[in-house]
Amino acid sequence: MANVAGLCSSAKAEFLTGIHALGPGTGVPARSAGAADVIKAALFLASASRGVADTVYNTTGELAGTGGYTQGGVTVTMGTAPVVSSTEGCFTPSANFQWAAFTSSGAFDCVVLYNSSQGDKEISVHTFGSQSVVAGTFTLTMPSSVAGSALVRIA
């Protein structure tokens, strides 16, 4: 046997629930992990410029608040705790995102996740093929919350 360096698989899932605050700094939470933050999902136009440089959610490039869409997006259902699958920390919302009775204000290809409990800090940007919806329903079905496919993974 030999020692093997690496980030513990359990810690990867624990990072996703904010268990570890490695170092001081503005925004370091001093809270229990008993309840999930309120995470929201918002849709953005294909012409927008969302990306990894984003730090805080804003409405620049978001779909207009018309046609059944409310700016700020929908609340993500957080019914399932992050898990370790193989050696990856995995998080996937426990319900799909859906907008019904919806007409999009333009073509859109992006959903942004942000933490409305923590100053709207942006978490991730997910893209898909450009879509438009007319008097219909848009459903974004979540992947399986396992290694290789979960919505947010730490490998």
Partner: protein
């Protein structure tokens, strides 16, 4: 009956078109209803096959 830009309408009065696109990252299906040449309903279902991954590593001395 389905929702359309003209209110609830009977599907039998409309022309229905469906489509599907599959890539490594997503599978998308859509259904459209037309009244003549006018698009009056379009619904989309995007099935994400995989999300984002952050790689992790630790330093060495």
């Amino acid at each position: 009956m389905i929702t359309t830009t003209k209110g609830l309408m009977d599907e039998s009065a409309l022309t229905k078109k469906c489509g599907m696109l599959s890539t490594d990252d997503e599978e998308t299906t859509w259904v459209e209803f037309y009244l003549g040449d006018e698009l009056v309903h379009r619904s989309v279902h995007v099935n994400l096959k995989k999300g984002l991954v952050l790689s992790s590593s630790v330093g060495v001395f």
